[in-house]
C-alpha cells in the first residue's frame, strides 16, 4: 500500500540460499514479487496491504544458516528484515501452498469454460502455479444464491474463495457501506443485504480486485470475449479531466471492455465506474459510421473519397471558413483544425466562462509557486482543502485518492507503535476511525463528506471568501476578507492551522462553481502556504479530457465565433468533436450554425450539432484513433488506436490532414503520420513542445519488431471471416505507432507508454502488473507514461489575487441556481453507454428544506424556473444541506446540458394541471 515512508534503507534477505536486496519496510511477499519470484497469493493486494487471511503466500523461514527445520510463515505477514532467510522451494512450503488451493477449490464450481473470468483469472493462474490438479474432496459443495447488483457488476457467489478482497476494497478502501460479508465458516457470503444497485462509484473495481469470477464486468457479458482474444492498446480515459490510464479491448469491431492500465502516478490500480463503463458509446447505435451529406434536407451517405473531394474546395484557401475545436478532442485534432483554417479563425468551442476559468487555472499553475500533484501525490497528502468541488462527481478517481489521503496523518500513530504500514488490519486497530484533515467547502453536500473533518455549505462567493480568509490567516500579505461571519472565521482558522501543520498540504479547486473568485482563493491559499515555506500542492479539476490541452493551445471562446459570423459572411463552419448545444443557449447556437452554407461536423455520435451538419464525418473515438490528451495534472498522455473500425471512420486529425493534402497544402502532404503532426505542433505551440516525449515514436522497435496488440494466444484468426473466406485476412498496417494490429511482433516488455496489456508467463490476470513495475506498486519500469507539461514557478514574488467578492445575500424572490454534478449523467459521451445511462438521475431542482416549505412544495412536486428566458418545469428534490436561497440543478443531463450556471431565477410552485405528468 502506498504510504509516504521517509528514508529508504536496504536489507539483504536470503531466498533459497541466495542473497537479494529488499526494502525492510516491506513484507516478504512484496519483496519476492518485486524480485520476480512466482509466489502465489490471494488476500494481499498491492494497494490494500496484507491481512494474512488466505494463507496462500506461505514460505519456510529459517532462524539462521544452521536452522534446517524452519517454520512456515506467511510471506505477506513477515517483514523483509535484514538477514531474513526463507525458502520458496522448500517441499513443505510447496505442499502447503498446494493444499491451500485445494482447500479453496473444494467448493468452487470448476466452471471455467462458462466463467467470464476464465483466461484472465488469478485463481486459475495460482492453481496452475501451485500444481494442485487432482480433486480429493468427495462431498457436496456449498451453493449460494446470486444477487442483482445493478447494471455494472455481475455476481456469481459459488466461485468465491473467501479471500475478503472485495469487502476490503469496497468498504475499507472505497468507503462503500452497502456491501459486506455475511455468515461464517465456509459459508461466508459477499454481497448486499438485499438485491440492489451497488452505490459506490468504484464498484467496477471489484471486477479486477476479485481474483476469481465472483464479480465480473456485466457489460462485457453482453458481448463476451476472452482476454486472449482481445486486441488491446494503451489508452486514456476520455470521461473526465484526470486522464486515467486504461486498456480497452476489442474483437470483431466492437469494444468489449475497459480495464485499468496501471500507472503509479496517475490512477494506480483503480478506475471509476464512469471510466470503466462509459466505453459503450463507441459501439452505440448513435454512432456516425459513414459520412453523411445533406442537401435540401435529403441526407445520403457518401464515401471517404467523396468527402475529400467535396471538402477540399469548400475549405480551400481564400474561402471564409471558421473552425471550432473541442476540449474532448485530441491535441492533434485541434491543432490540425487550427492549421487548416488559420489561427485567427480557430475557436476553442467552450463557453466564455469556461474559457476564462481554464485560462486562469493554467496561468496559476504555470505562474504560481505551487505544484500540481499527480493522483498518487494527492493520495499522500496529509491535509487537504477542497474549494467548490464535488470531487466524486467531477473527477471521480481523485475522490478515491482523497479517501486514502485522510489516512496519512493518523498513520503516524501506527508508525510510532512500530506497526509495519503494510499490515493493513494491524494498522487500522490503533487508528480506529481517526481521519486526517480534509475540509470541503461547497454549495451542496459531496460524496466525500463522510471522511471530511468539517464541511462548509455556502454560495460560491462565500466559498471563495472562506478560501481568501484562510490565505490571509496564513500570510498577512494576502488580502483580508471583510465582514466574515465568526463561524466562517473559526473554520478558516482551524483549516489554516491544519494546512500549516501538514507535511504535504494540498488545495483542490476547479471550475465547477463557475466562479473565478473560488479558483483565485485556492491559488491564494496555495501561494500563502508556499510563502510560509510549505511544499504545497494545488490541484484543479478540469471539466473534460483535454480541457487543459485546448487551454494550452489557446484559442478564443465560442462567443467570439458567434460574433464573427454576426460581423461578416462566412462560407463554412467546421466543428470537430463538439456538440455546441451543450455549450451555449439554443438560440445562439441555432443562429450560428445557420450562418454558413456549409456546416461540417466531425464527431463520433449523431448529437444535435452533428444532426444539423450539411456534412457529418465519422470521427474515430479514442479506441479508433491515435492522439494525445493533457490531463488536469498537466500531463500529456498518448492514447493508441485499439482497432481499425469498419467503414470510413478515422481520427479527426486524419480527415483534416487528408483534406489539406487534397488541397495540395504543404502540411497535408508533409504530415503523413501522427509523429509529424506532433513535431509540427511542438514548433507552432511552445507550451506543447514536450508532447513529443510523451511516448516513443512510430519507428520505435524492440529487436527490430513492433509491439503486437494481440496476445500470443489470440485465436481463430483464420476463422473470423470463414463465412466469406477461410484465408487469413491480411492484418491492417499501422504506420502511426510502434504497434501492429496482429499477434506478430515481440512479446518482450515494451516501455511503459506502450504496454498494450499486462501479461507475464503464468500470470494471465491483471495481477501480471507486478512484473512491469520497478517494485510492487512502484513506477512502471522506465518511468510512468506521459510527460508533465507544466511546472510551477518557484518565484515567491508573485502577487496574490486581491478581488474579494461580497458575501452572498439570499433574495426573497430569486434563487441562485448552482450546478450539481453527477458521475453518471453529467458527462456527454458516457451518457450514451446504456449501463451508465441507466444510473443517471432524472432532471430535478434541489431546494433547501426551508425554501421548499416557503414555496409549499414537497419532494417530487413540480417547480418552474426561468432559464434563458424560458420556463422549465422540474420535480423538486429536498437537499437539507443547501444554503438558504440556493437551488441546485444537475448539469449535463439531456435537456439541461446547455445552461451556464449559476444563474438567478425565480422558483415557483407549479399549479398542477391535468396535463403535467
Amino acid at each position: 500500500m502506498s504510504i509516504a515512508v521517509p528514508g529508504n534503507s536496504v536489507a539483504t534477505i536470503y531466498i533459497d540460499d541466495r542473497g537479494y536486496k529488499a526494502d525492510p519496510k516491506q513484507n516478504l511477499l512484496h519483496a519476492c514479487l518485486s524480485l520476480g519470484f512466482n509466489l502465489p497469493y490471494f488476500c494481499w493486494h498491492p494497494a490494500l496491504g496484507s491481512v494474512g487471511a488466505c494463507r496462500q503466500c506461505a514460505v519456510k523461514q529459517f532462524k539462521d544458516e544452521k536452522d534446517t527445520h524452519g517454520r512456515i510463515v506467511m510471506a505477506c505477514m513477515t517483514a523483509a528484515a535484514e538477514g531474513t532467510r526463507i525458502s520458496i522451494q522448500d517441499p513443505e512450503a510447496i505442499a502447503f501452498r498446494a493444499a491451500i488451493i485445494e482447500g479453496m477449490m473444494i467448493n468452487h464450481p470448476h466452471d471455467c469454460p462458462v466463467c467470464d473470468e476464465g483466461g484472465h483469472c488469478h485463481l486459475q493462474d495460482m492453481t496452475v502455479m501451485t500444481g494442485h490438479d487432482y480433486r480429493r474432496y468427495a462431498f457436496q459443495k456449498r451453493t449460494f444464491r446470486n444477487q442483482y447488483l445493478g447494471p455494472l457488476v455481475n455476481h456469481e457467489m459459488n466461485r468465491c474463495i473467501q479471500c475478503y478482497r472485495c469487502v476490503r476494497f469496497y468498504r475499507e478502501y472505497a468507503g462503500g457501506r452497502d456491501f459486506n460479508v455475511f455468515g461464517l465458516r465456509d459459508q461466508v457470503y459477499f454481497g448486499r443485504q438485499a438485491d440492489g444497485v451497488l452505490e459506490n462509484e468504484f464498484s467496477g473495481n471489484l471486477v479486477e480486485v476479485c481474483p476469481t469470477g465472483v464479480f465480473t464486468d456485466k457489460t462485457l457479458k453482453q458481448h463476451y470475449t476472452r482476454k486472449w482474444d482481445l486486441q488491446m492498446a494503451p489508452s486514456v480515459c476520455v470521461h473526465c479531466g484526470l486522464g486515467c490510464n486504461t486498456t480497452p479491448g476489442e474483437r470483431y469491431g466492437r469494444l468489449r471492455q475497459i480495464v485499468t492500465r496501471y500507472s503509479r502516478e496517475v490512477n494506480g490500480y483503480f478506475l471509476c465506474d464512469r471510466g470503466r463503463y462509459g466505453y459503450e458509446f463507441v459501439n452505440g447505435e448513435f454512432r456516425i459510421r459513414q459520412a453523411r451529406l445533406t442537401r435540401d434536407n435529403h441526407p445520403r451517405n457518401i464515401t471517404k473519397a467523396e468527402v475529400i473531394e467535396r471538402l477540399a474546395p469548400l475549405l480551400a484557401e481564400g474561402r471564409q471558413v471558421i473552425a471550432i475545436g473541442s476540449p474532448r478532442a485530441s491535441l492533434e485534432s485541434n491543432f490540425l483544425l487550427r492549421t487548416l483554417v488559420g489561427r485567427e479563425r480557430f475557436y476553442a468551442g467552450v463557453s466564455d466562462d469556461q474559457f476564462r476559468l481554464i485560462s486562469t487555472m493554467i496561468e496559476i499553475l504555470g505562474g504560481g509557486p505551487a505544484h500540481s500533484p499527480s493522483l498518487h501525490e494527492i493520495e499522500l497528502s496529509d491535509a487537504v482543502l477542497i474549494l467548490g468541488e464535488d470531487i466524486t462527481n467531477v473527477a471521480p478517481r481523485m475522490a478515491l485518492s482523497l479517501r486514502q489521503s485522510v489516512r496519512q496523518e493518523p498513520m503516524q500513530i501506527a508508525d510510532k507503535m512500530h506497526i509495519p504500514l503494510w499490515d493493513d488490519h494491524a494498522v487500522r486497530q490503533p487508528l480506529q476511525d481517526a481521519k486526517g484533515p480534509l475540509f470541503i467547502a461547497s454549495p451542496a453536500a459531496t460524496r466525500l463528506d463522510d471522511v471530511a473533518t468539517q464541511t462548509y455549505r455556502a454560495a460560491p462567493d462565500d466559498v471563495a471568501r472562506l478560501g481568501l480568509a484562510i490565505a490571509h490567516l496564513l500570510d498577512d500579505n494576502a488580502p483580508s476578507v471583510p465582514d466574515l461571519p465568526s463561524e466562517a472565521h473559526t473554520l478558516a482558522e482551524s483549516i489554516a492551522q491544519a494546512l500549516k501543520k501538514a507535511q504535504r498540504p494540498l488545495v483542490i479547486s476547479g471550475p465547477s462553481c463557475n466562479n473565478e473568485a473560488v479558483i483565485q482563493a485556492a491559488a491564494n491559499v496555495a501561494r500563502a502556504l508556499c510563502v510560509i515555506g510549505q511544499r504545497a500542492g494545488l490541484s484543479f479539476t478540469m471539466p473534460e479530457c483535454n480541457s487543459f490541452g485546448l487551454g494550452l493551445i489557446g484559442a478564443p471562446p465560442l462567443s467570439q465565433a458567434f460574433k464573427t459570423v454576426r460581423d461578416g459572411a462566412i462560407d463554412a463552419i467546421v466543428i470537430v468533436e463538439n456538440d455546441l448545444y451543450r455549450r451555449a443557449p439554443v438560440r445562439s447556437v441555432d443562429a450560428f450554425l445557420s450562418a454558413a452554407k456549409d456546416l461540417i461536423v466531425l464527431d463520433h455520435l449523431l448529437n444535435p450539432t452533428a444532426g444539423r451538419a450539411t456534412l457529418a464525418i465519422p470521427a474515430g473515438t479514442f479506441a479508433e484513433a491515435d492522439g494525445t490528451l493533457v490531463s488536469s495534472e498537466g500531463r500529456a498522455q498518448r492514447f493508441y488506436q485499439v482497432f481499425v473500425p469498419e467503414g470510413d471512420i478515422q481520427a479527426s486529425w486524419q480527415w483534416l490532414r487528408d483534406v489539406m493534402a487534397a488541397e495540395g497544402r504543404e502540411e497535408g502532404l508533409a504530415w503523413e503520420h501522427i509523429d509529424d503532426v506532433i513535431a509540427a505542433m511542438a514548433v507552432a505551440i511552445p507550451a506543447l513542445a514536450q508532447v513529443q516525449q510523451a511516448a516513443p515514436g512510430a519507428t520505435f522497435r524492440i529487436a527490430g519488431q513492433k509491439v503486437p496488440r494481440q496476445p500470443e494466444r489470440y485465436s481463430g484468426r483464420t476463422a473470423i471471416l470463414a463465412n466469406i473466406d477461410v484465408h487469413e485476412p491480411k492484418p491492417p498496417i499501422d504506420p502511426n505507432t510502434p504497434f501492429s494490429f496482429s499477434m506478430e511482433g515481440t512479446h518482450n516488455q515494451p516501455p511503459a507508454a506502450l504496454i498494450p496489456y499486462f501479461w507475464s508467463p503464468g500470470w494471465n490476470s491483471i495481477q501480471a502488473t507486478n512484473f512491469y513495475q520497478t517494485e510492487i506498486a512502484g513506477p512502471l519500469r522506465g518511468g510512468d507514461p506521459g510527460v508533465r507539461l507544466m511546472d510551477p514557478t518557484p518565484d515567491l514574488q508573485g502577487k496574490y489575487f486581491d478581488q474579494v467578492p461580497p458575501a452572498f445575500a439570499p433574495s426573497s424572490d430569486e434563487w441562485l441556481i448552482v450546478p450539481l454534478y453527477h458521475i453518471f449523467g453529467s458527462e456527454e459521451l458516457s451518457l450514451s453507454a446504456p449501463a451508465v445511462a441507466e444510473l443517471a438521475p432524472q432532471p430535478y431542482l434541489a431546494l433547501n428544506e426551508k425554501d421548499a416549505k416557503r414555496l409549499r412544495v414537497q419532494a417530487g412536486e413540480q417547480v418552474t424556473i426561468q432559464l434563458d428566458g424560458m420556463a422549465h418545469s422540474l420535480p423538486a428534490q429536498i437537499k437539507a444541506e443547501l444554503p438558504l436561497g440556493i437551488a441546485g440543478l444537475p448539469v449535463g443531463l439531456p435537456g439541461l446540458a446547455r445552461f451556464s450556471l449559476p444563474i438567478r431565477s425565480v422558483v415557483e410552485r407549479e399549479i398542477t394541471s391535468p396535463h403535467t405528468s
Binding site: 452497502d178 456491501f179 459486506n180 455475511f182 455468515g183 461464517l184 457470503y189 448486499r192 443485504q193 438485499a194
Partner: protein
Amino acid sequence: MLTPEERQEIEAEFPRYPHKQAVCLDAMKIIQRHRGWVSDESLRDLGEILDMTAEELDGVATFYNLVFRRPVGRHVVLICDSVSCWIMGYEKLCQRLTSQLGVDLGGTTADKRFTILPIVCLGTCDHAPAMMVDNDLYRDVEADHIDDVLTNYK
C-alpha cells in the same frame, strides 16, 4: 418502526460503550426479546438509530448464533450437541425431542409453539445431557423427561 419501549432500551445501552455502533448486538437482542426475531425491516429501522447500514448490521447478525434472522416459535429449545452431552446420550434425547414435536432440528412446530435448535456446549457437562428452553436450563435430562419439561411451555 421500533416501538418507543425498544428505542428506550436501546438508547439505555449507549453510555456503556464509547461508540454507538458497539450497541448493535445488544440492540438486536432487545428487538428479539420483544419480537422473537429480527426482521429485515427492524434491521433497517435499527440502522437509522445507530447510523449503520443494513449491510453492516446483517454482517454482524449473521455471524452470531443467537440472533435470529428468521421467525421462531414462542419458545426456543436449545439442545446441547457438544461432546459431553453427546457421550451422555444427546442422540437419543434429540431423537425423542424431534419426534415428539414432529420437526427436525432448526424447525418450528406447526402451531408455532416451539423451535428446536442445536447449541454448543452449555457449560454444564457434569450434568449432561443438557438443554435450555427459553431462559431455563435443564440438566441430566433423560429422554423420558422431555414431556414433562415441554408441558411447562404453552
